[in-house]
């Protein structure tokens, strides 16, 4: 059965927006924890910086208070990077895809979106944020589960996987960047109680703490945590793990469906994977983690462009999407 280019694109972006929403919930959650730790409101500003949203944010808010930032990232429909916007775009894509996806997939996204639409910042008074973030994470995981259990395994499934893993790799680099770039401690603080607790939080937010402990039973250093999140071969959110998935999915899809396009995307992914595998974490930290994370994000963006050109047609982007992050 043929897959319309437009559908392929919508599937890819639906997967990305759902994954992105889950990660935003994780990021908001981690910020709440940081904000509690004596640093006050400045930490709320870091999430604005992280997304390069300063200009847009200050056009509507004077100060990055907890309430303003939470509203901005949860319910502000004008903010492309808010949860509400992501869910709206995921839903729009799902709506387009309704002849293709299962009714259960559609209904869950539709109800999720409608519930979010009915919520307000009052429902998320800061002390409840963590609970709301947990709810969002669970809705996203429900989506993942329903998709796994009901999405018919044809070409569309492969585009879904590619979208999901590209987004996840990208988000892991961003989450890591919050800790290492924006919250960069002064050298004296490295290894302090606060520093270690923040690294713990980053790991907990990616549900990686226990796995990390199994690999590194003792101690916690920037090197081991960053190395774990970037290169670990068993951690489902590590960049290497995600890129391996992209590589495998793209290879299998092209051969199984005899697709002519996609060789350029394939080469890109291979190069990225090779580069990731060849660079020890010490070298990465020495040359600058932030720059390295930026480079990975750029490579993932190029892969996306290659996929779009190979499979989604040459026209300007068709699906509801925004790549501005």
């Amino acid at each position: 059965m043929n897959l319309l280019s437009r559908y392929a694109e919508c599937i890819f972006w639906m997967a990305r927006y759902m994954e992105r929403a889950e990660n935003l919930a994780r990021i908001l959650d981690v910020h709440e924890t940081f904000a509690r730790d004596t640093r006050g409101a400045t930490n709320w500003f870091s999430i604005v910086q992280l997304n390069a949203d300063e200009k847009d944010f200050f056009s509507r808010h004077d100060r990055p208070t907890a309430e303003a930032v939470i509203h901005y990232y949860m319910f502000d429909g004008q903010n492309q990077n808010s949860l509400l916007s992501m869910l709206r775009m995921a839903r729009e894509n799902a709506r387009t895809l309704r002849p293709w996806i299962s009714t259960e997939m559609w209904t869950q996204i539709n109800v999720f979106h409608n519930k979010l639409l009915e919520m307000s910042v009052k429902d998320v008074a800061a002390q409840n944020l963590s609970k709301v973030c947990t709810w969002i994470k669970e809705e996203c995981q429900t989506h993942t589960g329903i998709t796994e259990g009901t999405f018919y395994r044809d070409q569309g499934w492969y585009f879904y996987q590619m979208g999901k893993y590209i987004e996840r790799a990208d988000q892991t680099t961003r989450l890591l960047d919050i800790k290492y770039h924006t919250l960069l401690p002064s050298p004296a603080e490295v290894g302090s109680t606060l520093d270690v607790s923040q690294w713990t939080t980053v790991l907990r937010c990616t549900a990686g703490y226990h796995a990390f402990r199994r690999v590194y039973p003792r101690g916690m250093s920037p090197t081991t945590v960053a190395g774990f999140m970037l290169f670990n071969e068993g951690f489902p959110r590590s960049v290497v793990m995600c890129v391996r998935q992209i590589d495998g999915v793209l290879t299998r899809m092209r051969s199984r469906y005899d697709l002519r396009g996609g060789s350029a995307a394939m080469e890109r992914v291979d190069e990225l994977l090779a580069a990731l595998l060849s660079r020890p974490i010490d070298a990465v930290l020495r040359d600058g983690l932030h720059e390295y994370l930026d480079w990975i994000q750029l490579q993932l963006s190029v892969v996306t462009t290659e996929i779009a050109q190979a499979f989604f047609g040459a026209q300007p982007p068709l699906a509801v999407q925004s790549q501005s992050q």
């Binding site: 897959l3 319309l4 280019s5 437009r6 709506r95 002849p99 009714t103 697709l259 002519r260």
Partner: protein
Amino acid sequence: MSVPESKPSDLLSSYNPGLYFDELFGAMDLPAEHTALIRQRLAALDFDELRRRAQDAERELYNLGITFIVYSDKDAVDRILPFDVIPRVISAPEWKHLEAGVTQRVAALNLFLHDIYHDQKILKDGVIPRDLVEGNHNFRPQMIGLDVPFNTYIHIMGTDLVRDRHGTFRVLEDNGRVPSGVSYVVENRHMMQRVFPDLMQDIGIRPVDNYGHKLLDAMMEIAPVDDPQVVLLSPGTYNSAYFEHIFLAREMGVPLVEGRDLVVDNDRVFMKTTNGLAPVHSIYRRLDDAFLDPRAFNPDSLLGVPGILEAYRKGNVALANAIGTGVADDKAVYCYVPRMIKYYLDQDPIIPNVDTRICREPDALQYTLDNLADLVVKPVGEAGGYGITIGPRASKAELEDCRAKLLADPSNYISQPVVDLSVCPTVCDDAIEPRHVDLRPFAITGKSTWVLPGGLSRVALKKGTLIVNSSQGGGSKDTWVLEGGAA
């Protein structure tokens, strides 16, 4: 086994349809025997329980996204078509009559379309005024001399029927372009099966869920190749009937495409896929003629497919409905359908029209102006219940406004007597009350005609109103056509 206790004042005991024909009870002198068991079960229900189940049903429709979009100034809002849980019931003999009547009408309209795009005998014989056909803005000269498979033009037909005070079904309107609403017929049934399985048990209701198969069969019959690629062409997610497009594409198991997914190359139609261009042979289009091909019709249309008319004319792709059917469902041409039936089939209409006057004819205009306060005046070009003046309910100012419009452009209007639409018990805020209903059966025609046993029963939820259109606050009911053996 416990028999439901029948309280002295049961749910339906204070129900009073007044002077109207009632779909559940029948007329006073014609009690509806076939609904006896259904009435008994309904009467035994508790009103609060009924309301609760009705609310569950509407909640589920919303969650499932069985909605249409209403555009306001600011944004687009998803609305469900309000659903009333009390079914509208049609007996087996009644249905046999309706089925024959709809089939006859489809046959006559297809013969008419073939005739006006070929020999124009009916015009030459003076049965229908030539300018009414050729001057109609839905008449498509591009179709002249073109042969279509099985001479079928209207593959999907929706016939709007009403029932008068005496219980006689009459045709109010033909919809032969892109009739919508069939998705609600099927989804309403699914909803009833989930919410009221106890009410439906052992009633013997004819199923409606094979509509998609029948439609696909017809789409394949009319295709130019043996193993055709069928698609559904939609204007896109912003169209208010998008849910129906999804529904039909899914039921047929075919891709739902938009104009931008299709290209015409060398008079052949292709769709853009992840593996390049793939041929398309048969298109169920939910797009009006005017938007179909910017090269042939409206040049500003971004929804259509440039060059598709030529591909169609070459016979490389089938379209349903055919181009140019709008002339047959025109409200002025409607008046001539009984004569058409006589002319082509030498039969009397099985389902009569509502008595209609064509204001382009001087006598009819005079009669309409003289009796304005008693008549319904409709513009011929509008759909969705817009622009209608219902004489007995209009204010003096509204009547004068209508008179002015009639005089300014008489040929844009027809007039009809007020039909006392039949009513059906409907769940309202505090009680079960009578509300007016109509019926739109759907007929599919490839080689032959099949009529879906049922149809969309629209209900005017506002007390007293006669307009059942969804854009005007109407809702819908499940329509139960009973099997032959049912008492």
